[in-house]
C-alpha cells in the first residue's frame, strides 16, 4: 500500500546485485562509445599540455565559467518554476480544455532555441516589431544574460514538465489519502508526501535543461551572451586554436561532473515502486474552483509567449517570402532526410538507453555514476566538439563509415542520449525488482528477461525517450554539417544556408516545415499521456 522508503543496496566495485551481466556489459559498451568526445579531448590536450594550460589560465576563464554556470542554474530554476504548476494544472486538476493545454505545454520543444532567439530579437530587439508598434526610440536591451535566460527557459521548460507531469499522474492516491487521514493539511501533504516523490523527476528534468543551457551555442550567440560554449566555438572558428578549445571543453566536463553529482544526490537512495499488492488507483482530478480562470490565464500566457507568437511570426514571414527564391523541392528532400536521421537516432537511442537506465535505477553507485558521466558528456558539450571528436576518431577507427549516415546517426545518439536515459530510467524505478527476480528465478536468460519483463514494462518510458531524442535530433546542426554524407541536406542545414545568405526571414519556410515534421514526436510524447 505504501511506497517503501528503505535504502537500496548501494553498489561499490563489482558487487552489482540487481543487474544482469548482460545489462552491465551493454551499458559499458554504450558508455564506451559515448566516451569518444572525452577521449578526443584527452588526446588533444595531452598533445600540447602547455598550450592547454595557457588557454585555461588566461584571464577571465573562471569568470566566464561562473557566468555560464549561473545561466545554466538560472534556466534550470525558472524552467522548473514554470513547469511544475503547468504540470499540476494539466496533469492533476480539472482545468478547462485540459487536453489542449497538455499539448500546447509541450509544443515549445519543437522550436529550436536558435530560431526562438532570433524571433525574440526580432520582436523585442532594436528596430523590432514591438518597438515599431509602440513607436518608441529605444527599449531596454534584451541582449546578454537576461535575454539568454528568458529564451532558453521558454524553449526548454517542457523537458521538466514532461517527467514531472508523468510522475504526478503516477502518484499513488492511497499515500495522500493516508496523510489526509492522519489530519495533515493540504499544504503539509504537498510538502511531505507529494513533493518528495516529485524531486527525482524535477531533478532529472532541470538537469537536462541546465545542461542544454550550458552547451547551447545558437541562442546565446544571437543574444550576444558571452558564454563558455561561445568562447569554445570562437576558439575553433576564429583563432583556429583546437588545443585551447579542447582545454575549455575539458573544464566543461568538470562542471558536468559537479551538476551530475548534485542531481544524483537528489535521486539516489530512494525507491518509488509500490510494494503493496495490486496496482495504483487512478488519481482523481483536483477541482480548481474559483481558480479555474486564473489558471487558464496562466496556461494561455505561457502558450502565447512560448509557442503561438513565435509560430505566428514564422508564418507571417513565410507568407511574405513565399514569392522568394525558396526551393521547395530542396526543402521537401531535406524534410525527408531530417525525418530519416532523427527517426533512426531515436530508435537507436531508445535501445542504447535501456541498459544504462537499468543500471542507474537498479545499481546506483560509483560505476553507474561513471556511466552517467560518459553518456551525458555528448549532450553537455558543444555540438562542434562532439562533431570534431567524431571526425577525429571516426576517420581513424572506421574510415569506411566516415561521413556516412550510420556515423551521423551514432553522433546524434551521443548528443541526445541522456534524454532517452532519463525517460527510461523513470519508468524502470517504478518496476518492483522482484518481478525481474521472479522471471530470472524461473530460469530465463537475461536477454529473455529483458524482452519479456524489462522492455514491456518500460515501453512507455522508452517511447517517451525516443520521442524526446527525435525532437532534439531533428533540430541538430553542427553534427550534420560535418559528418553527414555529402549532399545530405537536412532542414536545419537549409535554414542555416538560407539565413546566412541573406536575411533570416528567408529561412522561415524551412523553419516552419521543421516544426510541422517534428509534430509526430510531440504526438508520441503527449498522445499517450491520457
Amino acid at each position: 500500500m505504501a511506497t517503501h522508503a528503505n535504502r537500496l543496496p548501494v553498489a561499490g566495485g563489482f558487487a552489482l546485485r540487481g543487474v544482469s551481466p548482460l545489462t552491465l556489459l551493454t551499458a559499458g559498451l554504450v558508455a564506451a562509445v559515448c566516451a569518444v568526445p572525452i577521449v578526443y579531448l584527452f588526446i588533444v590536450i595531452l598533445g600540447e599540455p602547455a598550450a592547454a594550460w595557457q588557454a585555461i589560465w588566461r584571464q577571465g576563464t573562471l569568470r566566464l565559467l561562473l557566468r555560464s554556470l549561473a545561466l545554466a542554474v538560472a534556466v534550470g530554476f525558472t524552467a522548473t518554476l514554470l513547469a511544475v504548476p503547468l504540470a499540476w494544472l494539466t496533469g492533476r486538476s480539472d482545468l478547462p480544455w485540459r487536453r489542449g493545454w497538455t499539448v500546447l505545454s509541450v509544443l515549445p520543444l519543437v522550436i529550436p532555441s536558435y530560431i526562438g532567439a532570433y524571433l525574440f530579437v526580432s520582436a523585442f530587439g532594436p528596430r523590432g516589431e514591438l518597438q515599431k508598434l509602440l513607436g518608441v526610440e529605444q527599449l531596454p536591451s534584451i541582449y546578454g544574460f537576461s535575454g539568454a535566460w528568458i529564451v532558453l527557459t521558454l524553449f526548454t521548460f517542457p523537458l521538466v514538465l514532461l517527467p514531472v507531469r508523468a510522475a504526478m499522474r503516477r502518484l499513488d492516491p492511497a499515500l495522500e489519502d493516508a496523510a489526509h487521514g492522519m489530519g495533515r493539511s493540504q499544504f503539509e501533504v504537498a510538502r511531505t508526501v507529494i513533493l518528495p516523490q516529485l524531486t527525482p523527476a524535477i531533478g532529472a528534468g532541470a538537469l537536462l535543461v541546465s545542461l542544454y543551457a550550458l552547451s547551447d551555442f545558437g541562442a546565446v550567440s544571437i543574444l550576444r551572451f558571452e558564454s563558455f560554449t561561445q568562447v569554445i566555438y570562437q576558439s575553433y572558428r576564429s583563432s583556429f586554436d583546437r588545443t585551447g578549445a579542447a582545454a575549455l571543453a575539458g573544464l566543461l566536463v568538470l562542471v558536468l561532473l559537479l551538476l551530475l553529482t548534485v542531481e544524483s544526490r537528489v535521486r539516489r537512495r530512494r525507491s518509488y515502486h509500490r510494494v503493496g499488492p495490486g496496482s495504483a488507483r487512478i488519481t482523481a482530478d483536483v477541482p480548481l474552483g474559483r481558480w479555474r480562470w486564473p489558471a487558464v490565464g496562466f496556461c494561455a500566457a505561457v502558450a502565447l509567449i512560448s509557442f503561438v507568437l513565435p509560430v505566428g511570426m514564422l508564418i507571417f514571414w513565410s507568407v511574405q517570402s513565399v514569392a522568394g527564391e525558396v526551393d521547395l523541392g530542396q526543402v521537401a528532400t531535406a524534410a525527408g532526410n531530417s525525418l530519416l536521421l532523427a527517426g533512426l537516432a531515436a530508435a537507436a537511442a531508445a535501445f542504447a538507453a535501456l541498459p544504462v537506465a537499468w543500471l542507474g535505477a537498479r545499481a546506483p553507485g560509483r560505476l553507474s555514476r561513471v556511466v552517467d558521466l560518459l553518456t551525458t558528456s555528448g549532450y553537455a558539450l558543444p555540438g562542434i566538439v562532439v562533431a570534431l571528436a567524431m571526425v577525429f576518431v571516426g576517420i581513424r577507427l572506421v574510415p569506411v563509415l566516415y561521413q556516412s549516415l550510420p556515423m551521423t546517426v551514432l553522433a546524434m545518439v551521443i548528443v541526445c542520449l541522456p534524454l532517452a536515459i532519463t525517460a527510461t530510467r523513470s519508468a524502470v524505478v517504478q518496476i518492483p525488482p522482484r518481478l525481474e527476480e521472479a522471471a530470472r528465478g524461473s530460469g530465463r536468460s537475461p536477454l529473455a528477461v529483458m524482452a519479456t519483463v524489462g522492455i514491456p514494462l518500460t515501453r512507455g518510458g522508452m517511447l517517451a525517450g525516443a520521442a524526446l531524442v527525435f525532437v532534439a535530433a531533428i533540430k541538430e546542426l553542427p553534427v550534420v554539417v560535418l559528418l553527414s554524407p555529402i549532399g545530405f541536406d537536412t532542414l536545419p542545414l537549409v535554414i542555416w544556408q538560407q539565413s546566412s545568405r541573406s536575411f533570416f526571414e528567408s529561412g522561415a519556410i524551412p523553419a516552419l516545415v521543421l516544426l510541422v515534421v517534428t509534430a509526430p514526436g510531440i504526438w508520441l510524447l503527449v498522445g499517450r499521456q491520457r
Partner: protein
C-alpha cells in the same frame, strides 16, 4: 519467447544495417584515383558556387564532383582533425584567415606557379600554399541624398569626429568587420585600434547584425554612413530595390592605403593529404580562368583578381585601390580582435 528476445536484439543491428546500406554508397568515392573524382570542402555558399561547379562538371565529364558546404572555419578545423586521411581534395574558403590557419598548421600543399601567378602577389600566400580567387573591399556606404562625395572622410579614423556622431553604422559580430579590425591591429597597432574602437563607441556608432542591414538602414535614412563590403550595394541594385542611378546608397573608398579599404579574398588551397591533386589543380585553374573570373565580377559582384577582366563599371578598378601593408594569411589571428571588441564593450 526466445525468438522475441532475438528479434529485439536484432533490431538495433537492423537499424545499423539499413543506415549502412543507405549511407555507404556515398561514403567512399573520395579516395580513389587521380582525376576521377574531386571532393570540394566549400565555405562559400551553394548559391554562388553551385553554378560554377555545374560548369566545371560539364567541362570535365570524367570527373565526379562532390561538394560539402559549411562554415569556412569549421571546415578548416575538420580538415585539421582529419589529418592525413582527409577526403577533401580541395578547400574553397570564404576568407583568407581559414586558409592561413591551415597553412600555419602545415596542412596545405604548395600550388604550382601556373596557378599562383594568375593573381597579384598581395592576394595569394607568400609561401604559395593558397591562392585568392575573388576579392571584396571594405568600403564606406553613404547616403547620397544627404552627403556630397567631398564631405566624406579620407580615413576610417576620421569617423570618430563629432561630425559623425550617431550617424555611423557597423556590424561588430560580422566576420568581415572582424577581419578588418584584425588588419587594423596588424597595420596600426593594438593601442591605436583600441583607441579607435573606444572613440567610435563614444561617438554613438550604431551596431547592426549584418552588412545588409546597415545598407538598408542607410537607405531608410536611419544613419548616414556605414562600414560594409562593397558588393552589398550591387546586390541591392540587382535584387531590384532600385536601379543603379537612383539607389540612394553609394560607395566611398577611403584614400589609398587606409586600412579602412582592406581587400580580403575568398580563395582555395589543396590539403597536403589530398589524394586528388590533379583534379584539384584542374579546379583551381578553372576558377582562375577568364570566364569564371568574369562570373565573379558579374554574378557575385566581387572583384576578379586576374588582370584584364572587366569589372562592374560602377566600381573603381582593383589596381587603383591600395591594399594596406599586410599578409592576408595573418588575418587568421582573430582571437585578439574578439578580445579587444569585448574589452572595449563594442561586442
Amino acid at each position: 519467447m526466445n525468438s522475441k528476445a532475438t528479434r529485439l536484439a536484432l533490431l538495433p543491428l537492423a537499424i545499423i544495417a539499413i543506415g549502412a546500406a543507405s549511407g555507404c554508397g556515398e561514403a567512399d568515392g573520395g579516395g580513389s584515383g587521380d582525376g576521377k573524382s574531386l571532393t570540394i570542402y566549400s565555405g562559400r555558399d551553394e548559391e554562388y558556387v553551385g553554378p560554377l561547379i555545374e560548369t566545371f562538371k560539364k567541362e570535365n565529364p570524367g570527373t565526379t564532383v562532390e561538394v560539402r558546404y559549411g562554415d569556412s572555419a569549421e571546415l578548416a578545423a575538420t580538415i585539421r582533425e582529419e589529418g592525413g586521411q582527409t577526403p577533401a581534395g580541395i578547400f574553397f574558403s570564404q576568407d583568407a584567415g581559414a586558409l592561413g590557419a591551415l597553412q600555419e598548421a602545415k596542412l596545405l600543399r604548395e600550388l604550382p606557379s601556373s596557378i599562383l601567378d594568375r593573381v597579384p602577389s598581395a592576394f595569394r600566400s607568400a609561401q604559395g600554399d593558397w591562392v585568392g580567387t575573388s576579392g571584396r573591399v571594405r568600403v564606406l556606404g553613404y547616403d547620397s541624398r544627404s552627403l556630397a562625395p567631398s564631405e566624406l572622410p579620407k580615413s576610417v579614423f576620421d569617423l570618430t569626429e563629432p561630425r559623425w556622431k550617431g550617424k555611423v553604422g557597423w556590424a561588430p559580430a560580422n566576420a568581415s568587420f572582424q577581419s578588418f579590425v584584425t588588419a587594423m591591429r596588424l597595420s596600426e597597432g593594438e593601442a591605436k585600434t583600441k583607441q579607435w574602437l573606444e572613440q567610435m563607441k563614444a561617438n554613438g556608432t550604431r551596431s547592426y547584425e549584418k552588412n545588409g542591414i546597415i545598407r538598408d538602414a542607410i537607405a531608410d535614412g536611419e544613419i548616414e554612413v556605414g562600414l560594409i563590403n562593397h558588393y552589398y550595394i550591387l546586390e541591392a541594385i540587382k535584387e531590384g530595390e532600385a536601379d543603379g542611378d537612383t539607389y540612394p546608397v553609394k560607395l566611398h573608398f577611403f584614400t589609398d592605403g587606409d586600412v579602412g579599404t582592406l581587400i580580403n579574398v575568398a580563395g582555395l588551397g589543396i590539403p597536403e593529404a589530398s589524394k586528388q591533386q590533379t583534379a584539384a589543380e584542374q579546379f583551381a585553374s578553372f576558377l582562375l580562368a577568364d570566364p569564371q573570373q568574369q562570373y565573379f565580377a558579374e554574378e557575385t559582384g566581387e572583384y576578379p583578381l586576374v588582370k584584364g577582366i572587366a569589372q562592374d563599371p560602377s566600381l573603381p578598378p582593383l589596381s587603383s585601390i591600395k591594399q594596406p601593408q599586410l599578409d592576408l594569411s595573418d588575418l587568421s589571428d582573430l582571437q585578439g580582435t574578439q578580445e579587444l571588441l569585448q574589452e572595449t564593450g563594442v561586442l
